[in-house]
């Protein structure tokens, strides 16, 4: 499955790029979910009021 490549030099730039890309993605998703949950709550309040 995961291949060990001990002789391959560690690519720090690639490591940082992936880390940044995932952090950005996670931030956008959490922001979108916060907004979605806010609107779900408002819609549910209107249904039950």
């Amino acid at each position: 499955m995961t291949e060990e490549t001990p002789n391959e030099p560690f690519d720090e730039a690639e490591y940082r790029r992936r880390q940044r890309s995932r952090a950005n993605m996670m931030a956008w998703m959490l922001g979108a979910l916060a907004i979605l949950f806010f609107f779900i709550t408002i819609a549910k309040m209107e249904i039950f009021s």
Partner: protein, 303 residues
């Protein structure tokens, strides 16, 4: 932090594109569309944000099922040309990450469905994920050539879940839509299995053409196509849909059966390009999209 490729002592974080590919986005598009049609064809009005959230929950549930399927079948996928490039067999992702991602996504999809909709739809979504992973992927697929027939139920859940998310109860029409996808799955997948036969044989998966042979598979494609056509048209004479859906179902199902007759009655020689099988497979996808679109159109603009 999920990790994948290792470079010596240090691990690279998994690329989000590979995690996205785990969810089988192309399969998800059909799931989302049929679920949306089930929701839109249901009586009553659902607030748009709740409808959107329910469909999102179904899409995430389908994505989780796809990820867990790829986690379990990583070894088999490596043996098939069609799937060898997926993130796990290609070595771009490790199995532990795929498992954590799949389980996490499944749990979140159920939470979102419960929060945005109702417990009935949440229960159905949980049943569809568990059925796909445990009954289809782990139990049926490696054991019996009937895997697609029974496993088709997993893919048939979305319109039912969409309807239940909107109404909180089950009615005859969504059950008929469930049956339609259930009966559509065997001719759709066996058409694919006929021109991918060598791939399935190499992976040791007992698909119908591998176990029962081409001739038997072709006969069964035709048999299921006829039953499916009856099931597709049935909601019209039974009074659950109107003429717009009815005539669409009649015309599209007639074409489906005609293409199945072509596939069901022919024999192939070595080096055959399998054009009728590829045509049937492509048409079957369009068939389901248009037919479900017609269910919604018929509900909103009855003739």
């Amino acid at each position: 932090m999920a990790q994948s490729l290792t470079h010596g002592e240090t691990a690279l974080p998994a690329d989000w594109r590979d995690l996205f590919a785990l969810t089988k986005p192309r399969v998800m598009s059909l799931v989302v569309f049929t679920a949306l049609c089930g929701l839109l064809a249901a009586p009553g009005n659902v607030p748009p944000v709740l409808a959107f959230s329910s469909i999102l929950a179904i899409a995430l549930g389908a994505g989780a099922s796809g990820a867990l399927n790829q986690w379990y079948e990583a070894g088999l996928d490596a043996k098939m040309k069609r799937t060898a490039g997926r993130p796990l067999p290609a070595g771009r992702l490790d199995r532990q990450t795929a498992l954590q991602f799949g389980v996490g996504l499944a749990a979140f999809s159920l939470f979102l469905m419960l929060f945005a909709s109702n417990w009935q739809a949440t229960l159905l979504l949980a049943a569809s994920i568990l059925f796909y992973v445990f009954i289809y992927t782990m139990w049926l697929k490696p054991r019996t050539p009937q895997n697609i027939v029974i496993g088709g139920a997993a893919g048939a859940f979305p319109p039912l879940i969409g309807w239940v998310a909107a109404t909180g109860s089950i009615a005859p029409l969504p059950v008929m839509l469930f049956l339609l996808i259930f009966l559509w799955t065997p001719p759709h997948f066996w058409a694919l299995a006929l021109f991918m036969r060598s791939d399935y044989a190499a992976a040791g998966i007992p698909m119908m053409p591998v176990v029962a042979g081409e001739k038997s598979t072709r006969r069964q494609i035709l048999f299921y196509a006829v039953i499916m056509a009856i099931g597709a048209i049935a909601p019209w004479p039974l009074g659950y849909t109107g003429a717009l859906y009815g005539w669409t179902a009649v015309v599209l199902s007639a074409i489906f059966v005609a293409l199945s007759v072509q596939v069901g009655t022919r024999t192939t020689a070595e080096g055959d390009l399998m054009q009728p099988e590829k045509r049937l497979f492509a048409y079957s996808i369009a068939y389901l999209f248009i037919l479900f679109g017609a269910v919604v159109a018929d509900h909103w603009w009855p003739l």
